[in-house]
């Protein structure tokens, strides 16, 4: 199972990103656990300043803006 963290201080784009990842994962039948990280100190500890950011298994794969569907699919 993949552990995915969405970094973002509760902005609409962050929610959209989390939702998109869950959707794509459901489509592909991949088992994921999506967690939203909203604490600013925690977000910055990943070195990310532009939200939303996406962390998969401890690695930052995306920062700034909602990722597109194809990119999300390539992560899973």
């Amino acid at each position: 199972m993949k552990e995915i963290k969405v970094l973002g201080s509760g902005c609409p784009n962050c929610k959209a990103t989390a939702k998109l990842i869950e959707e794509v994962a459901a489509d592909k039948g991949v088992d994921v656990q999506v967690e939203k990280v909203e604490d600013i100190a925690a977000i910055m500890s990943y070195g990310v300043m532009s939200t939303p950011g996406v962390v998969i298994d401890g690695k930052v794969v995306h920062a700034g803006g909602v990722p597109d569907r194809k990119t999300v699919a390539s992560w899973l």
Binding site: I40, M44, S45, Y46, M49, T51, V60, A63, V66, D68
Partner: protein
């Protein structure tokens, strides 16, 4: 082209008279909506294709550890070429502080960023001509430089929230980017969707306000109260009016177009544009998360004074 389109639609198809208030307002609205959104899509797409859109992480890397004059120059230049959403202000601020970038430089960046960006600059050239675009951008850079330097004199460090100093940032290994043409196209389309999705409301509101001004505000009244550069109160009035009003740098352009078209003095118009784009209550509330009210009050006052001086300056220079 846009002029022709708007005339056909409003005067021919809808049958409104070019002399009527509604006809003029609607014509302005249709023309500017078509023109500005066309330019928005085009500019953002091209920027995305060139991958010329900088991330705040990169900006921080460029600015950190430089001598102060260079750091400030880089900060305002980079602030001016990046269309950041004001929701990134807090992480940006913390990231800058954490990198040891002086607060005065950070303020210069925070001033330049909402006021100027390359998308707005291209649209300014398209709507108001390169001369006015150069004036606006030049004045904005100057205000950002001086504003940050003045803020520094007041030792704003004492008003920064304690937790900000304690945050430790990790080093992110950024994902490698897809540089194939298809990858660039996808990235560019995504940027267009993201940025237009974020700002279209402000732009449309700006066009609507501009259209109402264009169609309904009597020219005589404008010339009497806002066109006369000897009226010293017009500029501070414009700055004050801009504080509760908020829009982004692109949204203020159609309003400025309508004002200049009716003969409002250039300095007064520039002061209002800057005040609407850079001084706003929502922005203050976001920044309140990282600094206390004295710093914010000072920030707003420094900007208000700077915009007023810019406005007066340009009104004096105007022939």
């Amino acid at each position: 082209m846009f002029e022709y389109l708007a005339s056909q639609l409003v005067y021919r198809f809808l049958g409104l008279s070019p002399e009527s208030h509604a006809g003029q307002a609607l014509h302005f609205f249709v023309m500017d909506t078509a023109k500005i959104f066309f330019l928005l899509f085009l500019v953002i797409y091209v920027m995305g294709l060139l991958r010329a859109i900088l991330s705040p992480e990169k900006v921080r890397d460029y600015v950190r550890g430089k001598p102060k004059w260079l750091a400030r120059t880089l900060a305002i230049t980079l602030g001016a070429v990046t269309p950041f959403c004001s929701c990134s202000s807090v992480p940006l601020f913390i990231g800058f502080v954490e990198a040891g970038i002086p607060l005065g430089v950070t303020f210069s960046f925070l001033i330049a960023s909402p006021m100027i960006n390359e998308v707005a600059a291209v649209i300014l050239v398209g709507i108001l001509g390169w001369k006015l675009a150069a004036l606006y951008v030049g004045a904005g850079l100057l205000v950002a430089w001086v504003g940050g330097a003045v803020m520094e004199r007041f030792r704003p460090e004492r008003w920064v929230e304690d937790y900000v100093w304690k945050i430790h940032m990790g080093e992110a290994q950024m994902a490698e980017v897809d540089t194939s043409l298809a990858g660039r196209h996808r990235y560019a389309m995504n940027e267009v969707r993201e940025i237009v999705g974020r700002i279209w409301k402000w732009v449309l509101a700006g066009i609507a306000l501009g259209a109402l001004f264009h169609g309904y505000v009597p020219q005589q009244w404008v010339l009497e109260y806002l066109g006369d550069r000897d009226n010293w109160l017009a500029v501070p009035g414009a700055v004050l009016l801009g504080i509760p009003l908020y829009s982004n740098a692109t949204g203020v352009i159609p309003l400025a177009e309508a004002m200049l078209g009716k003969g409002v003095a250039i300095g007064t118009t520039l002061a209002l544009m800057m005040s609407i784009a850079a001084l706003s209550l929502p922005e203050m509330l976001i920044l309140r998360k990282v600094m206390r009210w004295p710093a914010l009050t000072l920030y707003a006052s420094v900007l208000a004074v700077a915009f007023t001086l810019v406005g007066w300056g340009f009104n004096l220079l105007q022939e």
